[in-house]
Structures are given as C-alpha cells and as structure tokens.
Amino acid sequence: MSASSSFDVIVVGAGHAGVEASLASARLGARTVMITSNLSRIGYMSCNPSIGGLAKGHMVREIDVLGGEMGLAADATCIQFKRLNSKKGPAVRGSRAQCDKDLYIDRMTKVVHATENLTVIGSEAKELILEHGRCVGIRLEDGSDIRAKSVVLTTGTFMRGVMHIGLKQIEGGRVGDKATIGISDQLRQHGFQVQRLKTGTPARLRAGSIDFSKTVEQRGDDRFYPFSSRSDKALALPQISCWLSHTNERTHDVIRANLDKSPMFTGNIEGRGPRYCPSIEDKITRFVEKISHQTFLEPEGLSTDSIYLQGISTSLPEDVQLEFLRTIDGLENVEVLKYGYAVEYDFVEPTQIRHSLETRSIPGLFLAGQINGTSGYEEAAAQGFVAGVNSVRSARGEESFILGRDEAYIGVLIDDLVTKGTKEPYRMFTSRAEHRLFLREDNTLERLWNRATELGILGQEQASRLEAILVQQTSLREQMRSSVLVPNAETQSRLESLGTAKLLKPTTIEELLRRHEVCFEDLANFGPFGGFDVSVTEPIEIDVKYAGYIDRERLLMASNRKLEDYKLRRDLDYSKVRGLSKEEQEKLGEKQPETLGQASRISGVNPSAVQALIVHLKASKEAQRGEFEPGPKRKEWRRSAVTVDHDSSRSSEIEGLGSSFV
C-alpha cells in the first residue's frame, strides 16, 4: 500500500450495507475500495441466520431488481424457505430464507473479490480526512491515507461498541471484533448528534446437546419463490427443519431472581433497544401475565453444530444463561457454544442525512446501515445499495437516486429515517408503508423496472431476461382482456368441474379470474394460459382480483404525489413563514426538506405548518406574479359579520358572551 492512493469511492465496512455499497459503486464503474478490519467476515450474518421476512423480503427483492446482491446470495445458500403470511392477503406475504451462514460469507467474499473495479483492504479506518468541509478520504490505522471523491461509512455496531454480558463490559462491535473509536468522536466534533442504541443476540447452542424429541418440528415450505428472477428456480442446497420450544415458569423464576445482574436493569446500558425484539428479561418484566414465550431453534448451517435460539436474546451473566436455558424443554442438558450478549453502539441521528444518504454537513460523506439507527440485514443492505449508487453519482456530479414512498419499501425506509429519525433500532414493517397494496413482493419487477434501467447496474443479459418477463406479462394481460368465453356446453361443464358458477353471458378471461374461487392456473382450461412461471402470473392474478382496492391505492398515491411536487428551496427562510412555531421553524431549517411531502412527515411539524407553508409558497408565488389579491376567501369568513373570540380558558366569560346571541 502506498502512503496515499486514490479512488472514486471508499466504503468502510463489509457487512450487509458495506457489501451492497461496494458492489453497486464498482458495478457502476467507479474505482472503489472496501476497507474492513476483518477480511473473513464479508457479508457476515452476525445475529439470526435468515434473510427476508415480512417487509424485509420486499426489500431484498427490490435490491435485487435494482442490481444488488443480497437476493442472489440468499437464494444460493437457502437451507429453509418460508413464505410468511401466505394465508393472509397478497400484499403482506413475505419471503424468508434461512441460510447457511458460512456459505453465505463464502459466496459474498467470492463475489466481492471477483468484482471489477473493487479493491479490498484489510485494515481499520481510523479517521476521516476532511478538507474544506468535504470528506476526501480515510486514514488507516497504519497512518496511510486513502483518498476518494466520496466515502461511505457502514460501521454497524462498531462505533464505540461495548458488549455487555451480565455486569461485564467488553469493548467491541461484536464477539471477536474490536470497536472503532476515532470516527464517532470526529463526527461529534463536527456537530453531529451521535447517540446510543442497544441491541442483543441470543446464545448459540450445540445441536448435539439438544433433545429435539421434546420440541416441535418446523419444516419449510414445499414451494420455493426465489428472491431473484436471476436465480435458479430450484433450491441448490438440502433443506433443514427448525424446532419450536417454549420458556416456562421455572425459566422466568431463574431470570427474575437474577435481574440485578442484568445490565438492562442496573442502568449499565443507556442506549435504547428495539421494542419489537426485546430481550427475554424485558419480555418477562413487561408482560408479567405471560407464563411462556416461544423460541425457535434454528440451525445456522448445514455443516455447523450451532443452533440459534430465536426470541431469547439476553445479556444476563453466563451462569444465569445456562441455568435458565436448561429449564426449557429439550435443553435440559444443553451446551452453549457462545453466550448471548447485548451491544451498545453509537449511531448518527439520521435526520442529519439527506435522502441520498449523504450527510448534510459534510459533503462527500455517506452513511448506511446501523450507523443510521436501523436494525436488520435487509435494512442495511438497502441503504448500502442506495449509498453506493449515490456516492458514485455525487462523485460524478449527477442527480441523486431517490426512491419514493410509493415506489419501494426502500423509499419508505430512507424517508422515515431522514424525515422522522428514530429512537430505537428501526425495523421495517409492512404497516410503515402507506401504499402497501401496491408495494408488493410479487410486482417488484414491474414497479422498479424503470428505475433499474435508469441505474444501469444490471448487465445486458440480466436486463433482457427481466424485460422478457414484463413483455410476457403485458401480452398476457391483453390476451386475458380480449379472450371471451361463450357460454357453450363445453365451457359450462369445465366451469362446473372447477366448482364455479356457469356463465350467463359471454365473459372475458379477466372477468372470470375475478371470481373468488378461480385461480390463474384454472385458466389453462380455457386457452393458452398455462405453463407460465408464477413470477409472471402472480402479479397479474393479484391485480385482477384486487383491482378495486388497487385503484383506490393509486388515487391516494396520486394525491400524495401532489405534496411531493411542491418543492422547497434549501435556502427557504422558515422564520419568515407565518404560522410556524419556533420548534417547526428550527426543525424545518435544520432538516431542509426538499418537498412539502417530506416536510409534512417531519415529526413535530403539524398539519397547520404544512398549511402555512402552502399558504406561504402560494402567496410568494402570487406576489411575484403580481396577482395577489388580499382578503379572506374562506366562505365562513364571509358569513360572519362580527368577530367574537375569547381565550378558551376563560369559559365563564364565553358563557356570558353566548347569551348575548339569544
């Protein structure tokens, strides 16, 4: 390594965010360098052994269509596949692949090393190099400098990371890896609000010490829906089972008796943990009435003996962990490979970054993943991808790549972070997406195809494969609308055998599919509608069956878009906008929303403020055009000849006032 070398983009970190950022940047043709302190953990799954899940599966598919890597890696290393909520509605189904953790790392490492334009350096990033307020590089632990036009930080839980096991504290971002100190201090010095979050992980158990006969087997689905349309339709690896067991009152007694040894309860941990993923200590104290909590025993791979104990994250001392674990059915003689722990780390309040994921105060510096307060591999990968793309675009002076809330979960994720910030590790839920019926897993390709081609990360061959699916869909849709079934004897008997009512008049195939009891596969009875892959037919079927709701969703999307069309200038002086509270003026001034839609979602900005902004924008526009007509237009105003108003706290006087109207 020379004392100073130069790249287009530097990515610090090689977790799920770092990998996607590096690959996206390099694939866009930018000379990229990935800096990681541990070369053997590229794309390491440091907590649970699965990719995807509700709302997360959506993001994996989105990353995939745009040209990211996570979906391909998950498909290739999948050892159990499940489509969650498959019995619920189409918009809330989520794919989850449990993966072989070692194979996942192997695959990601190979891809990273094989990618053109991408250099990997095994070193610790010590310091940001700042010049004229811009981030222009990274100083490594050996004192050498690497310079670049953009820098992406994906440091995960490593910034001032402290692990807690009982009352013991160890510096480090995760077991086996040391913490990064310098950078977060540097960010603080530059005025960033840096705060603490906490997360935890459960113990890993040795499979051979578990009596699985006392647990309930949980098999995967028979049908595999790969995340990526670029993957093979068939699973590559043998499939495994997981196992369900439960805590009981004895477990809870042990934990309760030892709460004084939990860093959560002694105040040793100041960071806020995720409400959706509380430790077992938390669950027991907050939901006293529950006498049992479920836990899934999940194998971490095909060739490892390690079992991940889902649902039981803890930071109690090792001996207490062992004691309560052994009260659980099937774990009476369990041996622990790695104890659970909590980790506290620094994150940057994400309202300080833009939708491009570039920080507001240091141009050229991008943040992605847990450093922005999120949790989860998929949330990290999504941000990593976007940061990677935008670091290149920024270096090239191009416009940022920003996905809308009505385009992708990734758009919802980043918009939430940037406009609202977070107080706990942020996880994606389907309920965070207001246009959930449109943001489905099945139609990811359709909704993001234009954005993907605009990006140009997908190679020619991959792109034409995806485009072929869309072409097929378009022609299928047309065919379904134009094919008419006539109520002849043959048709009627086929309908009868499908268990659906006979036709009363000629009916299109599309109309037939609207019927509750008819599914796409049945259509093969009536024309050339058989033999298509489910990735082709599923979005069509859902669009037809839920047409009414989807139309409503589209109307809503169009009306929300209007607010996004109101652009706010970065130099807008909010103190001049009448009707804004001091707090709103500060928040808006600080966050510099780019559209009225963004402004409306900033927490603490009330609807009256949005109204005031509309009024302001309109008034200043009219003032410029000289069309301004002063005077109230509101109907109610005209009707009222007299103005009566009183401090509402003095209601007795109002009472008196009211009587004067009798």
Partner: protein, 487 residues
C-alpha cells in the same frame, strides 16, 4: 397505518383548497375590531391583537402601567386625539396567553356603537388595522391555539342564531365534540393496531384478538358514529332555526295564522282570494329558536301572470323548508277535495314534517266539521298531523306553536348534548361510516387483513382530518404497548 401517511392524504386535500387560505401581506399587522354584537347593550368589547397591541393601545389608555400584567383588568379613562372618550376596563393578554396566541388587549367600554366606533377610529389612528371577518380565529388557528374543530365552533358560535345553538357551539368549543372524535379515533387505532400486529408479527406467536372481538368493537363504533351523525339534522336546526312554509287555498287564512303567531300586522290580510302574491317571510323567535315563516301564494291555478309567478315561488319555498303547514278553511264546503290534494302533493315530505291545520273552527259551532275532518284525516293516514284553530280569535295558536317546536324538544341527543352542525363534520363522519361498514363486511367474510387495514386507515385519516392532526405512528406504538413481541 399508512398512512401513515397515509399521513399526507388530508394535507393533499388541503392543496385543492389552498386558494381559500392566503397569507396576506397584512398578517403582520395588529388588528382591532368590535368583539361584541353591534347594537345596544350594556357594554361593548373592542379587541386588539398583534405584535404591537400593547404599544398601540398606550396612547389611548394612558393609565396602563409600564409593565402590563397578563389577564389583569385595569380601570381608567380612555383618551382620543380630541379628548376623553369613555371610562373603560382594559385587559392585557401576553403573547402566547391570548385567544389568538398574539399579544392582545380588550377594551370593555359602554355599549352602543358610538363609543366603540370612536375607540376603533382612535386605535386605527395609533397604527391598528380593522380586522377582517374571522381574522382573529384565523390567527388563533395559525398559531395553534385552537384546532380545526374549535375554529369551526367559533365560527358556528358567531353565526349561531338560537339560544340553544350557542350553548351547543360553546360545548364544542370546550372540546366536547373533539372528545367524541378522539373516542372514535381511539377505537379506530385500537382496531388498526390489532390488525397490523396480526400482519407484521404473525410469526412472533402473539395472541391476536379473535375476529369476534374485533367485529364487536367495529359494530359498536359503527353505532356510535351513526348516532353522532343523526344529531346533525337537529344540530343544524339549532344553528339555523326552522323554516316553515304555509300553504293552502287562497283565503284559507294563512296570513291570519301568521299574524296570530307574529302578533303584528305583517301580512296583508284581505277577503280577496289571491292577495298574497309574493312570498312574505317573517322571522319569529319561539322559545329562543328562530322560526322563519314563509307565507306562500295559494297553490290554485293562477289567472294572471303575477299570480303564476307567485305559485311557482310557493313551490320552491315549500321544497326548501323544514316544515309544511297546510292551512284549510273548515267553513269552506270544498275543503275535503283540497285536503286530499294537499296530502297527495305532500307525499314527498316525510310525514313528521307535515301539519294540516283547519282554520276558522269558530264558524263550526256544532263541531260537525271537526269530526268530519278527523275522520277524513285518519282515512288519509295523517290523523296524527291535524290541528284545529281559529287564527282570528287566537284559539289553538299555542298548541300550534308547540307542535311546530316539538322536534326541537325531542331529546335525540345521544351524545351528551353535543350535536353536529358543520357540513364538514357530516361529510367526514359519513366517510368514516362507509369505511367502517366495508371493514365490517371484510371482517365478517374473513378477508385479507390488509384490506381491513386499508379501510381502517382511511377512516383514521378522515378523523384526523376532522381533528386537524396527522397520523404519527400511533398504530405501531399501540402494537408495542399491547403485544409481547420478539423474534
């Protein structure tokens, strides 16, 4: 949900309306206006609001101390440019503590338009601007002192023309109606949270509210919303009062009846049929409620053009009134066929909004006409809606008035005396009711939960629109409060 943002949907709607809300260059001004009704009264209140309120009032109220204490009344003599104006109580309100949220001053001066008028002139000379109608309320809303519901209540209070109407407006102002809206919101959020938890945390082994419990809550809420909506008709009557159309054959005595009610010779009463060619509107107050009487031309076939016009107007008046009172002359031998015609004409009106009044009972000395009319009325199915009176002798007038006011006395107030008076509220509640009914249907047929969630979130939007607030991750917060989650 989504709305979350779903949150921005109501805001998007504002865009459509934004031309009605303009910030005028004058918004920085300090404004003044007469705050009490113009006319004779013991006192009149003049209000001043704006950043220079104290400064502009000092030259007039020279007795004010250098540091004005908020909410304290100071007594002294007001001075204009030409000398003393009046003795007055002057109350100052500090910024943030007044109705508008701005620095404000209230002058209580002696009643009548003279003194308050002069005071306003002086205030303008000192730098104030005369407020535009509703401008105080506008400022209060812009400064977050009141929510939309309260702002509308104030407008409603200003417009309220009946005694009960103003107390209704007052209870809204105090947040009672907001309270009912908040109850509805609470129920919607609860249901939304349970449905969302079932979706997003289905693999967390949480115990979901069973569909029956959800359905039960939804049905109860449906009832609640429907009951609140039902108060609208009454609420509107309270605010605007009643309009009663008097119809009947010429010379049946409509004008006399009107005169008897009004007790002054307002309508022209002659013996010549067809005298009342133009609509005569008289407004009375019956027990504090404004009642507009519209005396229409008779509905007989008109002979001349002027009368034709009158007949046409009568029809219009009838269509836009709350009540139709058909007046018939009991002494007219042809009353029966007229009665039948009127009843069939009035079919379009709900029965409870019709009254059939037989006038001139004084001429029916033996009461034969009365019993005949009663028999005929029950035959026509309006037996409960007949009244007998003599307008010229004042007989039966009180009973008649009581009958007209009866619907206002019905205690249809299912909501602790609160009723809906704003069209905006009706529209919103109706939207909520529709969403709720669709959600109920979805729950009943065990449909996809995200569809139920869509209906509920659109209902939540609407209630937030009514309350003028946005959706802040409430559903998600609720989920964490109620469920033990954790993967």
């Amino acid at each position: 949900m989504p709305g979350p943002s779903p949150a921005s949907q109501p805001l998007a709607r504002l865009l459509a309306d934004c031309d009605v809300l303009r910030v005028r260059p004058g918004d920085e001004d300090t404004i003044c206006a007469l705050a009490t009704a113009p006319g004779v009264g013991a006192i009149a209140i003049v209000r001043v609001s704006g950043q220079s309120a104290f400064r502009f009032c000092r030259p007039i109220a020279r007795f004010l101390p250098s540091s004005i204490e908020s909410h304290k009344a100071y007594f002294g003599t007001l001075h204009g440019r030409l000398g003393p104006l009046d003795e007055a109580l002057v109350t100052g309100f500090a910024e943030g503590k007044s109705f508008t949220g701005e620095e404000s001053v209230e002058f209580s001066v002696h009643g009548g338009t003279q003194i308050s008028g002069k005071l306003i002139e002086e205030l303008i000379a000192c730098g104030c601007r005369l407020a535009k109608p509703g401008e105080f309320t506008y400022r209060a809303y812009m400064n977050d002192r009141i929510d939309l519901v309260q702002a509308e209540s104030i407008l409603s209070l200003i417009e309220s023309r009946s005694g009960e109407g103003s107390s209704n407006a007052l209870s809204q102002l105090k947040g009672e109606l907001s309270g009912h809206f908040l109850d509805i919101e609470e129920d919607l959020v609860w249901m939304g949270a349970h449905i969302e938890a079932g979706i997003d945390f289905s693999s967390d082994g949480i115990e979901l509210k069973a569909a029956p419990e959800l359905l039960d809550r939804a049905l109860k809420l449906e009832k609640k919303v429907a009951a609140l909506l039902a108060t609208y008709a009454k609420g509107r009557l309270l605010r605007d009062g009643l309009t009663v159309a008097l119809v009947g054959a010429p010379n049946a005595g409509k004008s006399s009846l009107l005169n008897a009610v009004v007790k002054e010779d307002r309508a022209i009463v002659t013996d010549q049929p067809g005298t009342t060619r133009d609509l005569i509107e008289v407004e009375t107050r019956l027990e504090g409620t404004p009642v507009r009487w519209v005396d229409t031309a008779g509905l007989r076939d008109a002979v001349d053009e002027a009368e034709k016009l009158g007949v046409e107007r009568s029809r219009k008046a009838i269509e836009s009134s709350d009540f139709v009172v058909v007046v018939m002359d009991l002494s007219d031998p042809l009353w029966k066929s007229g009665f039948q015609n009127f009843v069939s004409e009035a079919r379009r009106f709900p029965r409870r909004q019709q009254w059939y009044v037989f006038n001139k009972v004084d001429l029916d000395s033996e009461g034969l006409g009365i019993s005949d009319a009663k028999t005929e009325a029950s035959k026509l199915g309006v037996g409960e809606r007949v009244l007998f009176l003599s307008a010229t002798q004042g007989k039966g007038i009180e009973e008649f008035q009581a009958a007209v006011l009866a619907p206002l006395r019905e205690s249809a107030f299912a909501h602790g005396g609160v009723s809906i008076t704003q069209a905006r509220h009706v529209e919103g509640l109706q939207t909520i009711l529709e969403s709720l009914r669709r959600a109920i249907e979805l729950i009943e047929r065990d449909a996809s939960p995200e569809l139920m969630a869509l209906e509920l979130s659109s209902a939540v939007h609407t209630i937030h629109e009514l309350l003028g607030k946005v959706f802040h991750e409430q559903v998600i917060d609720r989920i964490f409060k109620e469920f033990c989650l954790g993967k």
